[in-house]
């Protein structure tokens, strides 16, 4: 009960804070101290956002961005997950892949954007590959350390109870590594989401939320910029909370693995 009261109070205070912040912003924007083109009022931003959603352009931009991020992210999972498992299971593969990965990983994905632009041109291919590059490493590393960190007692117990390689893999190793794998996916998506916006800005294709923001700068359309920012933030937040949150609840928490992950 007290917990509940605490929560409503926190919620109320958050609302009050945000309302106050909005009011201050609105007052500054209307004061005419800054150029209205640079600091649009909140109703203007909201009107732009609604208008762009209504005429479908914002939805189309979001669809392009989502397509690129999902494509690159799926590619990263398809490559990173098996490779991570292989690295953890076979020493030889680990010895070959690990030095390469350690050398490539510190290179920020954006550093490769100009190179990829030269190689693959402007547009989808470059963006998808940048997303893929950014998302693969968290996926790979978390899978690798997840499989390695499976409790050896579980393996021996399963082996003693007569589990064959196949059963060992699907019934023990994969569930055991799943907290790490899901964390890896989460991090990979976060990186992918950052990468897609940046890649769209630099490798200026003609659709996508990152491109909208960057393009709006040319024409001082700060309202369009802020509207796109809202959409980007909302989509990222939605994915983080809804998709990965429910994925976690459906798998790891149900299997009671979360405490093992915390160590």
């Amino acid at each position: 009960m007290t917990n509940n009261g605490q929560r409503t109070r926190s919620f109320l205070r958050a609302v009050v804070t945000l309302a106050a912040a909005a009011a201050i912003y609105e007052a500054v924007a209307r004061s005419g101290y800054f150029a209205p083109a640079l600091l649009p009022t909140l109703p203007t931003i909201a009107a732009t956002l609604v208008g762009m959603i209504a005429d479908g352009s914002m939805i189309e931009h979001a669809a392009f961005t989502l397509y690129r991020v999902m494509f690159g992210f799926s590619l990263a999972v398809v490559v990173g997950l098996p490779l991570g498992i292989l690295m953890a299971r076979f020493r030889r593969i680990e010895h070959f892949v690990l030095p390469l990965v350690s050398a490539l990983m510190p290179i920020p994905s954006f550093a490769l954007v100009p190179l990829f632009m030269l190689w693959f041109g402007i547009g989808n291919t470059t963006t998808v590959l940048i997303v893929f590059y950014a998302a693969t490493f968290p996926m790979l590393f978390n899978t690798w350390s997840g499989v390695r960190s499976v409790n050896p007692i579980w393996l021996r117990a399963a082996g003693a109870m007569g589990a064959d390689e196949n059963a060992l893999f699907w019934k023990v190793i994969i569930p055991g590594a799943s907290p790490f794998i899901i964390t890896g996916m989460r991090q990979a998506f976060l990186r992918a989401w950052i990468a897609v916006v940046g890649a769209e800005m630099i490798a200026a294709s003609d659709w996508g939320l990152g491109w909208v923001i960057f393009d709006a700068k040319e024409f001082l359309n700060t309202d369009v910029m802020l509207a796109a920012l809202v959409v980007i933030g909302a989509i990222g937040f939605l994915f983080e909370r809804l998709v990965f949150g429910s994925l976690e609840r459906a798998t790891v928490q149900r299997w009671g693995m979360m405490r093992a992950a915390k160590g």
Binding site: F96, A103, F110, P114, R148, S149, V197, M201, F214
Partner: protein
Amino acid sequence: MRTILPTMQDVVTIAVTGAPERPESTGGDRLRLIARNVFPFVVVGLIWEIVAWAGVFPHRLFPPLEEVALTFVQLTISGVLLHHTVETVLRLLSGFALAAVFGVTIGVLMGRSRRAEDILLPLVSICAPVPGLAYAPLFLLWFGLGNFSAVLLVGFVSSFAVIFNSWTGVKAVKEIWVRSAQSMGADDRRLFSHVILPGALPYILTGLRLGLAQAWRILVAVEMLAAVPWGLGWLIFGAREFLNTDVMMAGIAVIAVIGLALEKLVFQKIENYTVVRWGMVTS
């Protein structure tokens, strides 16, 4: 829930660093270790050379490695590369310093005072999930092209990791420690400097580490967008105009080296310091 992410990352880094280094290895072992680490690069380099010389791709777009090396040496001798590197590192450090100062202050404030938490948390939670680079055009409009915007943006974006971790860290200080210090007559200042700060330090350091990594990841792109006169990001981006793929690759090589140095010299030092000294991350 928020603390589990950095913890996972820690495990990852420890696993990586723990594997190849073994102090009690003899000379022969070390040689074999070096050979084993070099071998993959030789294979990839060979494949690269073959593809470059076979002429599958245009020569300008896919230069052989010796050409990249030559460009690298030339740029180094002329001092151009060094100038770019220094500018980039300075920008990284000043942006990160901003994030560290403001991030830790805000985070600790949020952890200590309920009112500050109520005021700041909604604002921070709204700004944090937006990918940092999305703010770039906005910052460029408001603060103009160039250095100031770039540093400000890097600081702004990397401060969120610092804020969240400092906040969590202060909140994670055990209530018993605080109460026992108080019952032993510690005043507010001593409580803060002797109990809360040391207790929260592992988290704060993790936050700083994540913040620095984030600053590094975003800085290169910021340099491309903000049209700064010097900087590795700008070097790479500018080379594209003239199809100077070799210059580009040389720039990327320097970026990789700085990234690796950050990883090995800074992050792992911090990691060892926290893990070893406090034994809190692994417990």
